[in-house]
Assembly symmetry: C2
């Protein structure tokens, strides 16, 4: 990607979202970061979908460029790297969880418990706030270690 040329996927909100989330691997990486507490290359690599190493490196750098992740040294081990979600990613939680609720409804072999969709429809804002608090808890613990 030549960083001199601006992508013209702006303007229309759906097109803007498609430019980030309209990619299988970016989508799943956001899940791993926002919902599964994953922060390192190795953890992302271990996800059951089996992303390959070159694609993972490419997408992490794309998500960093897009302002969804920050790349920082791992406080636990200087040679390692952490990818943290930005506020922009965290603000994506509502959309992500909405998609999961929808998927839970239509995936015949869903592994998600009914309680998940239920708690979201009872209190959407509270559910999202809970996820965000979890993220902040994980990241504060990691950063101060």
């Amino acid at each position: 990607m030549n960083s001199n040329e601006k992508p013209q996927w702006n303007g229309c909100p759906t097109r803007y979202a498609a430019g980030i989330v309209g990619d299988k691997w970016c989508f799943l990486l956001l899940r791993d970061v926002l919902l599964h507490g994953k922060r390192t290359y190795r953890e992302f690599l271990a996800s059951p979908e089996g992303i390959s190493t070159n694609i993972l490196a490419n997408r992490l750098s794309k998500l960093e460029t897009l302002g969804m992740l920050t790349r920082e040294a791992d406080p636990r081990k200087a040679s390692s790297v952490c990818y943290f979600p930005t506020q922009k990613s965290k603000d994506f939680l509502l959309a992500l969880v909405s998609m999961m609720v929808w998927a839970t409804q239509y995936d015949e072999v869903t592994e998600a418990p009914a309680s998940f969709a239920e708690s979201f429809s009872n209190d959407p804002a509270g559910t999202i706030a809970w996820y965000e608090a979890e993220i902040d808890r994980v990241d504060q613990a990691l950063r101060s270690s």
Copy 2:
């Protein structure tokens, strides 16, 4: 795509959603169907992103297979074809609009008016219901013509 082999992108709700929406073109076609009232091949082709004819045919058939669209004869002209959104697509509206609100917040050159995000945060359910009513109005008019 060999229809004999089942894709194992089920189980995890995010993975299920990624299998449908984690594709730029499917994503934008859903926008066109759900928010722009587009129903025909020709209308989809005219979208500013410039999908090519083979990809359009491929994605329309994929979305039909996935139960997001139904392919029917155009009531206005028997030789023409209409793609209608199913309930499954319409139920995706909440997630789609959530993404748009998020994109509107972060796209520096968004064309979406502030009133859009505002009305959604004031009354999410009402906003979605309005969109769904619009869709039903369009489709009922089309089907009975």
